[in-house]
């Protein structure tokens, strides 16, 4: 039997401070490859993505791997590869995602003006300049359609959340699975569903409220699940205390559990609204886009923000595309405001100073 002590790997000495030399080596190894890649791109006339993929990435892997080998021995190499790949993929996808945000903000701002927000589309042709016409009617339409959806969905969704947490119902698992399944319902199928149920059968022509109906199955799972999660965070002792004092279940819920979970329920509603406010396909199959301002959700055409964007992209003229960008910015701001307020309301509140999290 070999009782020789195993040599301690170099990396297993975390108490050792990084020396100045090691740090310099790391800095050099991180900077040189990007310098070479930049030179290949700017001076060598290489394509940007090619120089990143075939110059920067291999060189970076090699350099950081070498530094790892020198500083930590053999085990430093896969470590270095992990760090480089994480940085590479993370940066790449962040650039793509920020490009989406940036192009909306940049192209949207050039279309944005007071009349773009307040006017409607009555005298606008696809090539009309941006001086007249706007998305006012579409904002109103979106607020009406999404508002009606919220009115229908919130009681249903919150009550479903209550069923999942407050009752001992037998089919809670089934309902949870079904909610997940509905959450994956393709939005265009939701639109087709309302179309086949209410329009083909002749109950109604294209109208705003049908759009609201189509959005209900898309919003319901979000509201129900987030409500469920927030109700679950209410300590069981609160409920038991209320019940122990003799309150019937409904009073215990309305006066103790619900107030305790208020911010979570509000968050659920806001996230649900943010989920459906940008849905396009269900509205295309159920509402009829109009150019004029309309408050009538029960019949006739009603323009909404997503269908407005969709129509103006489809037209394909330069001015119509810039109108679409402007509308996209307005829609993004709406989503952002909803999302921000959801975050603000559900932020962790504590009267005592937070426990310090142990750093990894």
């Amino acid at each position: 039997m070999n009782l020789e002590p195993v040599a301690r790997p170099k990396s297993a000495e975390p108490w050792k401070k990084t020396t100045a030399n090691a740090r310099n080596l790391q800095i050099i190894a991180s900077l040189v490859p990007s310098g070479v890649a930049a030179a290949a791109w700017l001076l060598g006339g290489m394509d940007l993505i090619v120089s990143i993929l075939f110059v920067l990435l291999p060189l970076q892997l090699l350099a950081i791997g070498l530094v790892g080998l020198i500083l930590k021995g053999k085990r430093g190499v896969p470590d270095a590869a992990l760090v480089v790949m994480t940085f590479f993929f993370g940066t790449f996808v962040m650039v793509l995602l920020l490009s989406v945000l940036w192009s909306v903000v940049e192209a949207g701002f050039s279309a944005l003006s007071p009349q773009f927000i307040f006017q409607n589309n009555v005298y606008v042709t696809p090539t009309t300049g941006l001086e007249i016409g706007g998305v006012g009617h579409a904002i109103i339409g979106t607020l009406l359609v999404v508002g009606l959806t919220t009115l229908i969905t919130v009681p249903l969704g919150v009550a479903t959340g209550v069923y999942l947490t407050e009752t001992r119902g037998k089919s809670r698992g089934l309902i949870r699975v079904l909610l997940q399944a509905i959450a994956g319902l393709p939005s265009v199928v939701a639109g087709l569903f309302v179309y086949s149920m209410l329009i083909v059968t002749g109950v109604s022509a294209f109208a705003g409220w049908l759009g609201s109906m189509a959005l209900v199955p898309l919003m319901l799972p979000t509201v129900a699940r987030v409500t469920e999660e927030s109700l679950r965070l209410v300590p069981q002792e609160l409920r038991n205390g209320a019940l122990g004092l003799g309150a019937p279940s409904w009073r215990a819920f309305l006066m103790v559990t619900l107030p305790a979970a208020k911010s979570g329920v509000v968050t659920a509603i806001l996230l649900g609204v943010a989920r459906v406010i940008g849905e396009t396909a269900p509205l295309i199959t159920t509402t009829f886009a109009a150019a004029n301002t309309s408050f009538n959700i029960l019949e006739g055409g009603l323009a909404t923000m997503p269908t407005y964007i969709y129509n103006y992209i489809s037209l394909g003229f330069d001015t119509s595309i810039s109108r679409a960008w402007g509308a996209a910015l307005v829609l993004l701001i709406l989503v952002g405001v909803l999302f921000g307020s959801a975050r603000y309301i559900s932020r962790p509140k504590s009267l005592t100073p937070k426990k310090k999290k142990v750093k990894r």
């Binding site: 993505i49 896969p78 989406v100 945000l101 249903l156 209550v162 999942l164 399944a181 393709p186 265009v188």
Partner: protein, 326 residues
């Protein structure tokens, strides 16, 4: 032996059912609301099914799902979604294939590498981006990304054109499955990344500390501890993203050229592709009654496909997050 006293009070039964009217109402309402989702799902399936039935009967289910061709003006019309079905799957898989490494890297970076302040900002950004409407992603894909993606596709073709996958005979690299896959990836990366980050953040800190204490480095901790612990959660998140990608309508519609009578098996740089949801959107505007029925049938197929994937996903996620199933 103890004698049971004869004057003992009668044994009481413990009642757990609601007794008062108000309580019955309270539990009744919540139960009814919960069952509304069952009703909703059944309604969706029934109505779509009834409307789609004529198409399934006329075309034959096998022929409708796997055949190719979409001709509405002939008598009798031909409706088959084979190319669309395969196209949906192809685009979704390209999207997921691109999105998974990026999303996991992003989540790992946010959770384990970034300084706290940056991590918080990035979390907020990722969660916000998960809520961006897909029509905006479509607009970005059409006007900003398509030229760039076409350029990348062309370079890929020039360098690797001898491999059949990267073959292109059209001299046009716009509106290809490659670009559509990228756009879908951008759409689902925030979704997968936010699920993965959530799973990572719930990993027991002691596990990671134990791993480090045993002398593991970053890489072996990731490979041997973090990944196995969170694997099923990540798979669930990926399947959710896959469901999103399969059901995506508008974004794909703008950046993909739909070809109805020929299946584009794997030539991802050819400007030919398909997607069921985009087919519905493309044909819905001026469809006759029989064609509407065929579109609804296509919707049924798509719904069943996504239902299948989402059910698997929810089961996996439920298994992976025991803290959610109290």
């Amino acid at each position: 032996m103890a004698q049971t006293p004869t004057d003992a009070p009668e044994r009481r039964t413990l009642r757990v059912k609601p007794t008062t009217i108000e309580d019955k109402l309270f539990f009744g309402i919540s139960t009814a609301a919960a069952y509304s989702s069952v009703v909703l799902l059944i309604l969706i399936l029934v109505f779509l099914g009834i409307r789609a039935l004529p198409t399934f009967e006329e075309q034959g289910i096998i022929e409708f799902v796997f055949g190719s061709g979409w001709v509405a003006i002939e008598e009798p019309p031909t409706f088959s979604i084979g190319p669309m079905l395969w196209g949906s799957v192809l685009v979704a898989f390209i999207g997921v294939g691109l999105a998974v490494p990026m999303a996991i890297s992003l989540a790992y970076f946010i959770e384990f590498m970034a300084p706290k302040r940056l991590a918080r900002a990035a979390t907020l950004l990722v969660d916000l981006l998960a809520a961006i409407p897909s029509v905006i992603i479509g607009l970005w894909g059409l006007t900003v990304f398509s030229p760039v993606g076409a350029h990348w596709g062309q370079m890929l073709h020039n360098a690797l054109g001898f491999i059949p996958i990267f073959d292109n005979t059209a001299e046009n690299f716009l509106r290809t499955p490659f670009i559509a896959g990228f756009v879908v990836a951008v759409m689902i990366v925030p979704i997968i990344a936010s699920v993965t980050r959530e799973i990572f953040s719930r990993i027991d800190d002691d596990l990671i500390k134990a791993s480090v204490a045993l002398g593991a480095n970053r890489e072996s901790t990731f490979r041997k501890v973090i990944l196995p612990v969170s694997a099923s959660g990540i798979v669930g998140g990926v399947l959710l993203g896959l469901g999103r990608a399969l059901g995506e309508t508008v974004a794909i519609f703008f950046v993909l050229n739909l070809i109805y009578d020929d299946v584009n098996w794997f030539n991802i740089l050819e400007p030919e592709g398909g997607a069921i949801a985009s087919l519905i959107l493309a044909k819905f505007g001026e469809a006759s009654e029989t064609e509407i029925s065929a579109l609804l049938a296509a919707g049924v197929v798509l719904f069943i496909l996504t239902l299948f994937i989402n059910t698997i996903a929810s089961f996996i996620v439920a298994k992976a997050q025991p803290w959610n199933n109290r």
